[in-house]
Every structure is written in structure tokens, then in C-alpha cells.
């Protein structure tokens, strides 16, 4: 698992990491279940109000739901059936609040020292100093939170959380209040620090890109319910349902009918929009059944204007550009398939490519749907044109 | 650090119980401690404001002992004594209060008559009223509107107020003057009101009017004693009276004290003219 420094705290433990299972209807609906192994970072992702913070607070012991269990390293912190509830101050959970929640009347050093109650008086100052150095705040120990910038406050909060030698580190949207440049810096520092952390880390965020960058696993939440669990890339590119697909921001969602499953290594054929699409072989879905399918923008290839299509097998789809937005270095476009506005494919290309191919609203263009990108899901209830 | 005093699992509850216990113990010890030998508190009718103060000073000069004086309306004191107020001696302006307390067993005995009081009409300097003890000027003033406010003590619980009412009724002026009355809580306050200039005058105790502080503020005249029930002022030792109170009670019947009472216009028992 890599070398561990003093942050590990103690000899090799029986490692089962964090396991959480919660169920409640009111006042906040919850139906979440996930686990996080030591040294792993799990991102809890979902729109605002999806219960992510509540779940984090439950793990920390600040909120008590009606049913469920929270266990860390084999120790039960909460078990509604057994009537177990360990209060927050007896748990070893390090929580970095969204607003940092530093003690305003204490210096940075004293803030960190507050979490070091388990050490002897003599050791505390030294340790606090070490931790502040770890988060690159050496020299600022004497400052009060009001005298520190947002990024610096956040680091004090992290140092304080780590000071507790926590069994699980919880980060509640820690980067939402900082500017982009600082955020990039903090991402790198967190990634670097992670290599030395041997505990499960749970990161709550509504920013998918952040999750993609930092986390090993991603748990998708909506209205307190766990929708999907897996690696970030997996969840983003292979969402289990249309709902999950929408939550992770996939725009190209359609319905189709399964025509045929070719013998391996062949494709699964779908009928869509009066044409036949080749997608990755997926015999789970029955022939003749409706399916939903999606394709990430990354798997749409623009046919170059100056080079005619050599009849690539990869599902060519012609259409008319209905939207073309230059967003810095990338241009985001929407293609109306066969000129039908209700069937739109969203894709993006580098701006110079867009320029070279003279992409503009009203122009004709053709894109290829890469078979490997077409991902099948159970059919959705909302009516969509099948074609 | 977390197990500082070795508190129980619910340190908060232990702390609270301990704090409450300390508070209770402190209050108890403190109440008990306050029963040391203290000068007795003497309740005196308000008309004795100046007279009794002088007598207490004479008492101290002679015996070296202190007494604490409280002044108020006789009726108010009687009520407080019934509720257990810690007075050791009570000088009332109306002997009925004393006799009633005696019937209810709150006093040592029926006490002693110490003075007979008189009332006067007083008008502050600059008042359109005259200090006329026959009320003739008052009668005229009521008719021609010279008097808007007239002060007496509250007849409900102040004997001097009751007597004032009796004399006004006797003169047939009560109905006319009733809604222009300003009632003092006791006769001292009535004197305050009567001399302050915010009223045109009032009926107060003779003993108060004779005091230099009050007489400087206006003019006064005695009201005929036959017009009201006599103000038979009786004093009594209460149940918990101590040695000092007993000595003071005796002192009040000695020549020195009687001389002071005479100075303040009181008629002494046995000397009624």
C-alpha cells in the first residue's frame, strides 16, 4: 500500500475501511450504501440537496438517521438495530467543513492543537507545527483565521482534521469556496498528500471533473439514494440508468430497438432513426426490446470536410449544425440528425478544427459514432422519439 | 485531557448536580449566618418621621445602643407584620391596628398609648389657598376654582388620611373635593405632595408640619380636634422583640422621650387638655 508516515497512527490494523448503509424517509430521505477501503478516495457526487453533506455528517457523528449503520475498521460507530451510537467527539473522524469552521478566536496553531487532545501537553505544539508544515503553512502558525486567505484557512482545516489521527477523512466540498487557480494548486497538493494517507477518504463534491481528477471511486447520489458505485470513468461513461446518465451530464441520450446480436467478435445492431447502428456487443438486452443508449461527446468523431468519408464502419450520421459555441480553446456544437431538431447530438472539437471545417450554424456535417462509446441502458420511461 | 477529573460518563449531569448543590449550601449557610445580634428594626408610623429619629438619637446617646427605624403607613406595617416581617416593635398612629394584632397573638401584649396626634392644613408658599383650620377658605376656594389638587394620606391604610377625610366630611366638603384629592401612600408622602408646589395644599400630621424642614416650606394651622376621631397612637413590642427593643420601649415612656414628643406637637397620655 506504499510507505506510511506518522499519519498512519499505530501498527497494522485489521483493515476493512469504511462501510456505510443508511435508510430513512423523513425528514431527509436517505437510501445510501457504499464502502471505501483504506487509502482509497471515494467521491460522493450528486446535485445540491442530494444528501451528500448529510451522509458525511452521519459518518462524523453529527447527524443521526433513523436506520442504518456506519462502521470503520470493524468498529461500529452507528448501528440502529443494535442501538449503537458513538457521539462525534468519541469518533476519530476528521471532517473538513465546507466553510472550514475554524475557531475564530484561536491562532492557526491553536486550532490544530485543539484536535490533539490525545497527546501529552508537551507533544502537542510540536505535532501541530509538523502538521502545519505538512500543509505548507509553516510560518503562519500565529495568525488568526481572519488573517488568512481562503486557501490558507482550508489548509488549517485539513491540518486540524488530520491532527485527530482520524480513521476516516471527510472532505465536504472543500474546494467550492476557492478561486480556480488556488483550486488547481490544492488539487495537486491533495493528490500528493493522498499517497501518504492510509485511511479511507470521502470527498463530497458536485463537480464531476473534480471527482474524475481526484477520486478512485465514485458514488452517485440523488435525493439521498445511491444510484451507482464504481470508478469515476466507469460511472461517467457507463451509467447504469438514464437517470444516472443525466446526472453525470451526458447529453446524448436516445432510445433504440435491438435488432440483432452478432456472434462475437461482432456487434449488437440497433435500429435508430431509420438507420442501423453498430454498438458494442451486449447480449443482455433481448432482440426486439427497446433500450436506451448514450454516447459521450468524446466518442463522436467529426468527418473532415476536405476528406470524403471512406465509408468507415463507425455509424456515420449526417445532419445540420444547430448550435456552435466557441468556448475558449474548444468549440461545442450540436448536430440535428437528418435535420431533425428533436434528435440532437452534442459534441466538441478543438476550435481550430471547427474553423478548418468551417463549422457554423446551418452548415451540413457528418459525425461518426464510435461503437465502443455506445452504451446501452434499460429503457427510460420518458417518451423519446425512437425513429 | 479528556478524562480530567475522572467524571462519570455523563460529566454534564454531575457538573450540574454539583453546581446546584453548592448554590443551595451557600444560600443556606448564608441565611443562617445572618441571624447575628443586630439592632432591632422598629416600625414607626410616618408621622413620627422626625420625632422618632430624634428620640432614637437620644436613646443612642444615653445607652449607646442602635435601633433601625422604618417609616410607613400604619396599615401597611400591620399587614407586613401579619406576613411575618421581622419588626421587633411597632408604633402605630391608630391603636386599633395594635389591638387587632394583639387579638391575633402577634404581639406581646396590648402595648401602651404613647401619644395623641393632631392634624393641620398646610399650604405651600405661593399657594392661592390660605392656611385656614376652619376650612372656610377651602370652601370658598373649591367654589371659585382656586384649588385643583389637594393632598391627604390614603384613608385606606393611613390613620392620618382617615382623619383628614373625617374632617372634610364634617365640613361637608368631601364630595366637592374628592376628585381633586392626591393620595399619599402615607402621611409623609402626603406632606411631600402638599408642600411640593404641585398641589395647592393638603392635610398632614401636626408633628410633620412642626419639623423645621417642612415648616420652612409653607404655612399651616391646626384643625379642631373635635372634628375627627382622636388619633390615639399606640406602640407595642412584637413577639420576637429582643432586649434592645424592650429598652427602647421603656425609653419612650421616660421624660426625655416625652419631651421630644411634646416638641413635635403630640399630646401625651395623661396630659390631654
Amino acid at each position: 500500500m506504499g510507505s506510511r508516515d506518522g499519519l498512519a497512527g499505530g501498527s497494522a490494523e485489521v483493515c476493512c475501511g469504511l462501510s456505510v448503509r443508511l435508510a430513512q424517509d423523513t425528514p431527509i430521505p436517505l437510501a445510501a450504501a457504499f464502502a471505501c477501503a483504506p487509502g482509497e478516495m471515494l467521491a460522493l457526487v450528486g446535485p445540491s440537496g442530494s444528501g451528500k453533506s448529510t451522509i458525511l455528517r452521519t459518518i462524523a457523528g453529527l447527524y443521526r438517521p433513523k436506520n442504518g449503520s456506519v462502521g470503520v475498521d470493524g468498529e461500529a460507530w452507528f448501528d440502529s438495530e443494535a442501538g449503537v451510537w458513538v457521539p462525534a467527539h468519541r469518533r476519530r473522524a476528521g471532517l473538513v467543513f465546507q466553510s472550514y469552521a475554524l475557531f475564530p478566536h484561536l491562532t492557526a496553531l491553536d486550532n490544530v492543537t485543539a484536535a490533539l487532545g490525545h497527546l501529552s501537553r508537551a507533544e502537542r505544539r510540536a505535532r501541530a507545527g509538523q502538521l502545519l508544515e505538512l500543509v505548507h503553512l509553516a510560518g503562519l502558525e500565529g495568525r488568526r483565521p481572519a488573517e488568512l486567505s481562503g486557501g490558507q484557512q482550508q489548509r488549517v482545516a485539513v491540518a486540524r482534521a488530520l491532527g485527530r489521527e482520524p480513521k476516516v477523512l471527510l472532505l465536504d466540498e472543500p474546494f467550492s469556496a476557492v478561486d480556480k487557480a488556488t483550486r488547481q494548486k490544492l488539487y495537486r497538493e491533495l493528490a500528493a498528500m493522498r499517497q501518504r494517507l492510509s485511511m479511507p477518504v470521502v470527498l463530497v463534491t458536485h463537480d464531476l471533473d473534480e471527482a474524475l481528477m481526484l477520486a478512485d471511486r465514485l458514488s452517485l447520489l440523488h435525493h439521498g439514494r445511491t444510484l451507482q458505485d464504481g470508478s469515476p470513468l466507469q460511472v461517467m461513461q457507463q451509467p447504469a440508468t438514464v437517470e444516472a446518465a443525466r446526472l453525470v451530464g451526458q447529453r446524448n441520450l436516445f432510445e433504440a430497438i435491438v435488432l440483432e446480436h452478432q456472434a462475437p467478435p461482432g456487434f449488437t445492431l440497433l435500429r435508430w432513426c431509420g438507420r442501423i447502428l453498430e454498438s458494442e456487443r451486449n447480449p443482455i438486452y433481448q432482440v426486439g426490446a427497446s433500450v436506451s443508449w448514450m454516447i459521450p461527446s468524446s466518442h463522436l468523431v467529426l468527418h473532415r470536410r476536405d476528406r470524403p468519408s471512406r465509408g468507415e464502419h463507425e455509424n456515420p450520421v449526417p445532419g445540420i449544425i444547430t448550435e456552435c459555441l466557441a468556448l475558449g480553446e474548444t468549440t461545442s456544437c450540436v448536430l440535428a440528425v437528418d435535420g431533425r431538431a428533436e434528435l440532437s447530438l452534442a459534441f466538441s472539437v478543438p476550435s481550430h478544427v471547427a474553423a478548418r471545417n468551417r463549422l457554423a450554424v446551418g452548415e451540413r456535417a457528418t459525425v461518426s459514432l464510435l461503437a465502443s462509446g455506445i452504451h446501452l441502458m434499460p429503457p427510460d420511461d420518458t417518451p423519446r422519439p425512437v425513429g | 485531557m479528556g478524562v480530567w477529573f475522572g467524571w462519570s460518563r455523563s460529566p454534564r449531569r454531575s457538573f450540574r448536580a454539583l453546581a446546584f448543590g453548592i448554590m443551595l449550601a451557600a444560600m443556606a449557610g448564608w441565611a443562617a449566618g445572618a441571624v447575628a445580634e443586630e439592632p432591632p428594626t422598629i416600625a414607626g408610623a410616618a408621622d413620627l418621621q422626625f420625632a422618632l429619629t430624634d428620640i432614637a438619637a437620644a436613646f443612642k446617646a444615653e445607652t449607646g445602643l442602635d435601633v433601625k427605624l422604618a417609616f410607613g403607613s400604619s396599615g401597611n406595617f400591620a399587614r407586613q407584620i401579619r406576613q411575618g416581617a421581622p419588626f421587633e416593635m411597632y408604633l402605630s398612629a391608630d391603636e386599633n391596628y395594635v389591638l387587632d394584632l394583639g387579638k391575633d397573638g402577634l404581639t406581646r401584649d396590648d402595648g401602651a398609648l404613647y401619644a395623641v396626634g393632631r392634624i393641620v392644613i398646610i399650604v405651600p408658599h405661593g399657594s392661592p389657598l390660605e392656611a385656614d383650620g376652619t376650612f372656610e377658605d377651602l370652601r370658598a376656594a373649591l367654589k371659585d376654582g382656586r384649588v385643583q389638587k389637594f393632598a391627604i394620606a390614603n384613608p385606606e391604610h393611613a390613620p392620618y388620611g382617615r382623619r383628614a377625610e373625617e374632617t372634610l366630611r364634617h365640613a361637608g366638603l368631601w364630595e366637592a373635593i374628592e376628585d381633586r384629592l392626591v393620595l399619599g401612600e402615607n402621611v409623609s408622602q402626603a406632606a411631600q405632595f402638599a408642600t411640593s408646589g404641585s398641589t395647592q395644599g393638603g392635610i398632614i400630621a401636626y408633628s410633620l408640619a412642626l419639623s423645621p424642614k417642612v415648616s420652612a416650606l409653607g404655612r399651616f394651622e391646626l384643625i379642631p380636634a373635635e372634628w375627627h376621631e382622636p388619633l390615639r397612637q399606640r406602640m407595642v413590642l412584637l413577639e420576637n422583640a429582643g432586649a434592645t427593643a424592650e429598652r427602647f420601649f421603656a425609653f419612650l415612656q421616660e421624660p426625655a422621650a416625652r419631651a421630644i414628643m411634646r416638641q413635635y406637637g403630640f399630646v401625651l397620655p395623661g396630659e390631654e387638655s
Binding site: 462524523a60 457523528g61 453529527l62 457521539p87 467527539h89 468519541r90 473522524a93 476528521g94 471532517l95 467543513f97 466553510s99 469552521a101 475554524l102 475557531f103 475564530p104 478566536h105 485543539a114 484536535a115 487532545g117 490525545h118 481572519a146 486540524r160 491532527g163 485527530r164 | 485531557m1 479528556g2 460529566p11 454534564r12 457538573f15 450540574r16 448554590m23 444560600m27 443556606a28 441565611a31 443562617a32 441571624v35 439592632p39 428594626t41 410616618a46 418621621q49 422626625f50 433601625k68 427605624l69 422604618a70 417609616f71 410607613g72 401579619r82 406576613q83 411575618g84 416581617a85 421581622p86 419588626f87 402615607n186 409623609s188 408622602q189 406632606a191 411631600q192 419639623s211 424642614k213 417642612v214
Partner: protein
């Protein structure tokens, strides 16, 4: 100048504040942190002495601890003195009628502490009483101090209830406010003026201190 009365008033003020400190912190904290059924009623009850005429309060206190009442009789048998017309009775009355002056500013002081800061204290491993001593009290202290100063000043100035429950017994319940009243009735304007001026100065100092403190609350948490 009635020094005994002044000493009595100061004693009453200090002891009232001493007793109200733990009560105010406990109740103020509860009201600040918890939402419970009947909280509105609790807050209204706490605020009641603010709007009740002192004589109403005095009347009910007399009914509650007077010589005829159960409380009064128990007290009498325990200590040999009645609860009314004594300093102890005044102290009890004083604590009751100062409840809103003590509890409300303390409640505001505790409310001003962001909930997440308290939660962070728990997550740092601080037990509730440790969090109280090291985090909450230091942050809420302007509110607490305001409460104590206001209660002290209010006690010094209270008249109606003191008169009804305490009578005007020199050295026992004759506070300086009552002494002023008494001196006016005795036509002793000099003494009355002296004591009134003293109380005025004390009240001004109190207000100045309170305003100064409430400005510090903002700065402290800013």
C-alpha cells in the same frame, strides 16, 4: 448618603449575577442550540418579566413565597426566618425578575457561534464540557458579560418588586433605590440627590460598557 443601603444594593447585585451566571448559561445555551416543541413558550416565559408590571410580579412572588404559602412555610421552618422581608427573599425575587436580562443576551451570544464551529469542536474530540470551556464561552463571552452587566444594573434600579417583597427594612431590604424614596419622604433632599446622582452615574457606565461590548461581538467573530 445611606451607605448601608448602597452596600445592600451592591451585595444584591453581585449575588444575583453570581446566581444567574450558571442559570443563564445553561438556559441560554439550550435555547440557542436546540429547537424543541414548546420552545416558543419557553422563550415567552423567559421574556415575561420584561413586560409584566413590577407590581404584578411582586404580587405573584408574595403569593408564592409569602408567610401563608407552602414555600414560605418550609423556608420558615428550615431557617427560622420568613422568605419575604428578608435579603434572601429579595435575592430570589431578583433572580426571577432578572431572568430575561441574563438569559437573552447570553442566548444571542451563543446563537452567534456558527453551528459548524461547534460541530468542528466535537469532531476535534472535545467533549461537550471541554467545547463549552474552550470554544463556546470564549466566543460567547461578550454576550455573557452584557447579560451580567445588565442584570447588575437592573437589580440596582429595581424598586417596585423590592418594596413589595422586601418592605423597606434598613440593613436588610432597604436598597439604595428605596432609600432614595425614603429620603424624599423624609424631606432629606441632600441625601436623595446624592444617591440619585450615584445611581445615574452607575447606569451610564453600564450602558457605555454594554454598547462597547456589543461592538466587540461583531469584531470577534468577523
Amino acid at each position: 448618603m445611606d451607605w448601608t443601603a448602597l452596600r445592600l444594593s451592591l451585595e444584591l447585585g453581585f449575588l444575583t449575577v453570581l446566581l444567574l451566571l450558571p442559570i443563564g448559561i445553561w438556559v441560554g445555551r439550550r435555547l440557542a442550540y436546540q429547537d424543541f416543541r414548546g420552545k416558543g413558550l419557553a422563550e415567552a416565559l423567559v421574556a415575561l418579566p420584561l413586560v409584566l408590571p413590577p407590581t404584578v410580579l411582586g404580587y405573584y412572588l408574595l403569593v408564592a413565597f409569602g408567610a401563608g404559602s407552602p414555600v414560605g412555610q418550609v423556608w420558615q421552618s428550615l431557617f427560622g426566618r420568613p422568605l419575604v422581608f428578608t435579603f434572601e427573599g429579595l435575592l430570589v425575587a431578583s433572580v426571577i425578575f432578572n431572568l430575561p436580562f441574563a438569559i437573552q443576551p447570553m442566548q444571542r451570544g451563543f446563537e452567534a457561534i456558527p453551528r459548524e464551529v461547534r460541530e468542528a469542536a466535537a469532531c476535534c474530540g472535545l467533549a461537550p464540557w471541554q467545547a463549552l470551556l474552550r470554544i463556546e464561552l470564549p466566543l460567547a463571552w461578550p454576550g455573557i458579560l452584557t447579560a451580567m452587566v445588565l442584570s447588575f444594573a437592573h437589580t440596582l434600579g429595581e424598586f417596585g418588586i423590592v418594596l413589595m417583597v422586601g418592605g423597606s427594612i434598613p440593613g436588610e431590604t432597604k436598597t439604595i433605590a428605596i432609600a432614595i424614596y425614603d429620603r424624599v419622604q423624609a424631606f432629606d433632599d441632600v441625601a436623595a440627590a446624592q444617591m440619585a446622582a450615584l445611581l445615574l452615574a452607575l447606569s451610564l457606565a453600564t450602558i457605555a460598557l454594554t454598547y462597547g461590548l456589543s461592538r466587540r461581538v461583531g469584531r470577534r467573530l468577523g
